[in-house]
Amino acid sequence: MEFFHDVKIDWLGKKWYFLGFSLIFSVAGLISLFFWHGLPLDVDFRGGTVVRVKFAEKPNVDHIRSAADKAGLHDARITQYGAEGNNEVMVTLSLQETSEAALDQGRANIVRTLDQNYSSTGPQNQGKLDLDNVSRSALVSWLEQKDPEHLGADSNAAETRYQQQADAFLHFRDDVHSGIVNSVDQIRGIVDPAVFSAFQQDGYLSGFHVQGAEIVGAQVGKQLQKQAILATLYSLAGMLVYLWFRFELIYGVAAVVACFHDTLITVGAFSLTKQEISLTVIAAILTLVGYSMNDTIVVFDRIRENLRLSRREPLDVVVNRSINQTLSRTVLTSGLTFLTVLSLYVFGGEVLHGFSFALVIGILIGTYSSIAVASPMLVAYQDWRVRRGKAAALPAARKARV
């Protein structure tokens, strides 16, 4: 099977279309960045509190919002995430409610609000154990205190026994049922009958489960912002130096400009779609810098090789031919990487959503830019030199160190 056999496309002839295409996307991104959505930063960078909660039944977001409002959490942002059937909600508080003096105040407020207003908790649950949210250590000490199997307080036998019972229940709750138990009856048979009746009597199901929380103070957020910017710049600079060493400076410049173009459009896409940029998104963008460089290098390698073989031909002919010769490879590998990234986007879950979104966009743009941005830049550079009356020959680069 073969998709591209002996293609003869005049890529450079279409450079104005490419320029237009790139401009539209970059400018749209820039406009969104500066005048519309701005740069939507995740809690990692912005600071604040995010609590992920899973509900037993489909949560009523408006109900939660009004409950939070009543509890004084006025700018709480409540969004559903993940698949519809997962009943998962993310509650976000701004930095103002995440003071560094009492970092987890916001989370405590959210949990209390949910407990009071949303869940099936009523006065009859006062003093009982919330089985949906109890942690291992709290459950073990609760069982030791209740001692439903009458093993004697403070005995080693009781400690081992109840730890094992707690683990059995938590495995059932967290690993099998993603953190939430729908009815107490489900637990029957998972734990000993005596423990089960203790659960029945003195435990209740709140109907929600706090899956995780992230609380970031202002200082760390600023620190990370600075680092992320530095890391991206260092990465681009590293590429420039490497290409300069392997090829010639102009190749490096062209590749880095193409990469910067990819980064800009990817970040712009985040702004346009109002998705938040987290630490892992930065990791994805840095990977893209490397990846987009790959495609560019493959084309440049071929240009260099062809320039050495046929010194008489004009540069644009050589560049066109090189792109066409590597087109099959470029499209195939990008397509395959795209396939894996797409499976990450579809199956990888909510936590990696931003990460895989950046890669999905970035791989498309990165492939496009190696053909439509980096290579035309080489030709444009040569034309510019000719116009200034300098030697026309694009340096065919030093002999490859093979």
């Binding site: 992230e214 970031v216 590293g238 990846y291 894996t340």
Partner: protein, 539 residues
């Protein structure tokens, strides 16, 4: 050729066996659960996968500098007194610059004496600059300041580690974070219930005994008025816990001498105990012998005066000195519970934190979220891998089998690396594995496309394979280096989960270089050696 091929095959099989051992070790059985257990034994999961808490703490190191300069301030006062120089004031003029001490009001006839004392005793740690009107400014040398801050950080890490250990947390990570910013990263696997552990980490647990100069007063205003409006530089006003002086006393204010008789580092041991009379829980503590001697001298000389036991800047107990006390004491009353007595004595045993601590960041991943993440990551990896493998088979037929074998081996070696290196697999790390599949197959495509080109140019299969590999290898090196440069920068700048991504991506690409260039070539050679010269290959 044949013999060479055999050696190469043996090398590849050896890699395979070593990697599989790296992944599974020697499992107890071959059942699914036994293999899974063995796998989890070898490969470290990050907090985002197994659940746990990740904290970033800021050590307020300026406080450690302030403590040191306080103590030097006391030293200078004592030195001046011993040399009969009266009337001089030693103070710290700027609360924001704890490293600066000022001496004013020295009588003119003692100027050279003061100068001599300062230069002989304090010039190692301070820059001493004389000013107008017989004043001196002592500024702690930057190296001394840095040293103090660094010591405070090291000590804080040490103390927090001991405290966390006392909770029985398995494999906690406690290390400096963000070089030069005096922050600490604490990772507590399996902890999703923070309340108590956070209190314990944050508690300074600075226990001191001070001489009481005045009090008690009901509030701060009254206290200041009674003293005469301003607080002497060597004194401080502290509030007491209810019940500090007698069982039914309320929260009151005391004027205490600023420099303690003994302080946090002087405690040798502390144990929870019970009051022999009331049987209420209390904490018994014991001083080191040096501090005990000092305390003995002080109490002997001050019988009838009051002293206060101060914990974390709150007066816990005020007592009249009735006789010489050498090296032991207790903290009682004020509603101490059994749990509190246990925690507090542990805190005192592990020692005081050299400075207070602020929480900067806190991330908790519950076990259910981690389990979901693992599940989703594995599904995404398998789906991605199957899609890529199927495509390679369809597009390259025979050579596709070759690429799929190489890809599979790539993955096995990558996981083997993870097992041997003890590196941590995080959720972005799983994404790194998936990306390795996509990027790894890039090398195969590069080579195969080149072979096809050479075949089209009319070369024999053997020559085409040879040329294909030879030409593609430079490109492969270039592409790998650029991606690894990105990963290296991520490793340096990233934290936990992102570091895990950089690690798997780098390991994956290194393994890929071996599988795509070496293994794939051996498979081609093996096929070619079985064919007649010029017989076509499937690609």
């Amino acid at each position: 050729m044949q013999k060479n091929l055999k050696t190469k095959t043996i090398i590849i099989l050896a890699f395979l066996v070593v990697s599989i051992y790296g992944i599974f070790g020697i499992p107890h059985g071959v059942s699914g659960t036994a293999l899974k257990d063995a796998l989890l034994q070898r490969i470290n999961l990050g907090l985002d996968l197994k659940g746990g808490t990740h904290l970033i703490l800021q050590v307020m190191v300026d406080e450690a500098v302030s403590t040191a300069s306080d103590s030097d301030m006391g030293g200078i006062q004592a030195d001046l007194q011993q040399n009969g120089i009266n009337g001089a004031t030693v103070s710290k003029p700027d609360p924001n610059r704890p490293e600066v001490i000022q001496i004013t009001g020295v009588p003119a006839d003692h100027v050279s004496d003061v100068s001599g004392i300062l230069n002989s005793r304090y010039s190692t740690n301070y820059d001493i600059t004389p000013g107008v009107n017989n004043t001196w400014t002592l500024t702690m040398k930057p190296t001394a300041v840095t040293q103090l801050k660094q010591n405070a950080l090291d000590k804080a890490i040490d103390v927090i580690r001991q405290r966390v250990d006392s909770f029985g947390v398995k494999e906690p990570a406690i290390e400096p974070y963000q070089l030069g910013s005096y922050q600490i990263l604490v990772e507590l696997p399996g902890i999703d219930d923070l309340g108590r552990i956070k209190d314990v980490i944050q508690s300074t647990a600075r226990l001191e005994t001070h001489e009481v100069m005045g009090g008690p007063w009901p509030d701060k205003q009254t206290a200041l008025q009674s003293i005469g409006g301003t607080l002497p530089p060597d004194a401080e006003l502290l509030q007491s816990m209810p019940g500090a002086s007698s069982p039914d006393s309320t929260a009151e204010w005391y004027e205490l001498k600023k420099i303690p008789i003994w302080g946090g580092t002087d405690i040798r041991d502390a144990q929870p105990g019970h009051n022999p009379n009331t049987n209420e829980p209390e904490v018994d503590f014991y001083l080191t012998s040096a501090a005990g001697n000092k305390f003995g001298q002080f109490t002997a000389a001050n019988i009838g005066k009051q002293m206060a036991i101060v914990l974390d800047n709150r007066v816990r107990e005020v007592a009249v000195i009735k006789g010489t006390i050498r090296d032991q004491g207790n903290i009682a009353g004020g509603g101490i519970t059994e749990q509190y007595a246990k925690d507090l004595s542990m805190l005192l045993r592990t020692g005081a934190l050299p400075a207070s601590i602020h929480f900067l960041q806190e991330t908790t991943v519950g076990p259910s979220l981690g389990a979901d993440s693992i599940h989703q990551g594995v599904v995404a990896s398998i789906a991605g891998m199957l899609a890529v493998m199927a495509f390679m088979l369809i597009y390259y037929k025979g050579a596709g089998v070759n690429a799929d074998l190489a890809l599979f081996l790539n993955l096995v070696i990558l996981l083997g690396f993870m097992g041997y290196s003890g590196a941590t697999l995080t959720l972005p790390g799983i994404a790194g594995v998936i990306l390795t599949i996509g990027m790894g197959v890039d090398s195969n495509v590069l080579i195969f496309e080149r072979i096809r080109e050479e075949l089209r140019a009319g070369k024999s299969p053997a020559a085409a394979v040879d040329q294909g590999f030879a030409h593609a290898i430079t490109t492969i090196i270039d592409t790998h280096v650029t991606t690894i440069v990105s990963a290296a920068i991520l490793f340096v700048f990233g934290t936990g989960p992102v570091k895990g991504f950089a690690v798997t991506l780098t390991f994956g690409l290194i393994a890929n270089f071996f599988t795509a260039v070496f293994v794939s070539r051996v498979i081609f050679d093996a096929l070619l050696s079985k064919k007649l010269h010029g017989e076509p290959i499937s690609i």
